[in-house]
Amino acid sequence: MHGITIQNVTKTYLTNGEHSVVKNLTLEIPMGTVFGFLGPNGAGKTSTIKMLVGLSRPTEGTISLLGGTPDDISVRARIGFMPESPAFYGYLTGKEFLEFIAKIFKQAHPNHHIEEILKSVDLGHAKNKQIRTYSKGMLQRLGLAQALINNPDILFLDEPLDGLDPLGRAEVKKIILALKEQGKTIFFNSHILADVEEICDVVGIIDKGVLVAHDTPQSLSIGHKDLEDAFVHIIEQSRKQYA
């Protein structure tokens, strides 16, 4: 079954001269895989995820999702995306926002489904409060809820654990692990390596737009204390090589 195929993708911006943020990236992620995309800040993780969900387009190369392209409406109906620090319509309530998203997916009677999702992300108590009154953790969980509303086949999460307190992180991690149990394909951007090690089947490490490693967390950690140690070593090696 088709999953995510990225072939020779390069993304170049022309601001302040030509600047490539992703360089010749090739990745194949089969269905049912939880893929962790790691890299330091500015490595090209968010640029890659934006191209995967159709917010931007590759300068070169191709992206295939579920056998189509990110611009296909039929493909978009089967993916979920949670951006980094999601921003909402502040004057709507959490429930109203999810109703709005459900209508975009043309769900006829979404109320029961919305209630279930709100409970699963622990927002049932705040569903009728305006979003502008939500805490950072609540916004992250609402971001996750809107990404799950269509029961997606592929879920893209951009730094879903970023900025959360330990309790909030544990809650969101629990939800992601439950999705993994259900066999969802998850593309997961993060720089919190302990969580990635726990959640992901396969990881890719990107630095300065170049994919420098691609393997299971266990394989990458061989000969190192843990994944974090391996990550630092791989980045240092790659920078020496390209210096």
Partner: protein, 256 residues
């Protein structure tokens, strides 16, 4: 497709109608309309005309405020605060978002117009001046069409510039749209071919927003005929379609 556009429009309407800035602007206009009673009391035999003049002008300013400032802020929130990141990856086409946003904000403009017009009617009722009901309705209908055009202009500009610049450009468009008639002498009696071509180009490119202004006329009892009203409606729809096309092309190419 229509369902999706309606969903975006409904959401835009709900979001903007709860906006405190809009509610504050509406409150100010309602106060101004109430204040016309005082202005009328100090004018001799012109009290009703004063109420109509001040009232329709206040409603018009509210409409322009909603179109330019709430319109620019609306797109600012989507682009700069990245609420678009939650919407664009969904099964929705970008032109559906543009049309939904424009219709939602037009519905908001229509609602605040309706509320303030009802307030104006209530004031006129205290004076027993029911003769002005139809002219006022025609006047606010035409100015709502103008607001619709300005909403689309602010959306077009916000597709490729910052919200502040978008608001400034829309204001320039608004002022130029009302000053278009002053170009006529340059076309009718040109000093040179270059001036004539440039003046003619600007004249036909910019919307003639004066077509939607009958506020002065109705104060003196002049009502435009049905043909003129229908022509203004068709003109607004033509110009709005053109702007919608430009906005759709701009947003289709836009990367986030």
């Amino acid at each position: 497709m229509l369902n999706t556009i309606f969903t975006i429009a409904q959401n835009t309407f709900r979001e903007t109608m709860r906006d405190r800035i809009l509610l504050a602007a509406l409150a100010v206009v309602l106060i101004i309309i109430a204040f016309t009673l005082f202005i009328a009391s100090i004018s001799i035999e012109q009290d009703v005309r004063m109420i109509v003049d001040f009232g329709t002008s206040a409603i018009y300013i509210l409409q322009i405020f909603v179109a330019i400032f709430i319109g620019s802020m609306l797109m600012y929130k989507e682009v700069e605060q990245k609420t678009f990141f939650l919407i664009l990856p969904k099964p929705i086409r970008r032109y559906e978002i543009i049309l939904g946003k424009a219709l939602g904000l037009t519905a908001t403009t229509f609602t605040v117009t309706l509320l303030s017009t009802l307030a104006l009617f209530a004031i006129l009722l205290t004076k027993g001046a029911t003769l002005f009901v139809v002219p006022i309705l025609l006047s606010v209908f035409l100015s709502t069409l103008e607001a619709m055009i300005l909403i689309l202009i602010s959306i077009v500009f916000s597709g490729f510039t910052s919200p502040i610049l978008s608001a400034i450009y829309t204001i320039v468009f608004f002022l130029a749209g009302h000053a278009g008639e002053s170009l006529r002498p340059l076309i009718m009696f040109p000093q040179s071919t270059v001036i004539e071509v440039v003046a003619r180009g600007i004249y036909y490119l910019l919307p003639n927003l004066e077509k939607f202004n009958i506020r002065n006329d109705i104060v003196f009892g002049d009502i435009p005929n049905a043909t003129s009203i229908i022509f203004s409606l068709l003109y607004a729809l033509f110009y709005a379609s053109l702007l919608f096309f430009v906005a759709s092309v701009t947003f289709k190419k836009k990367e986030f």
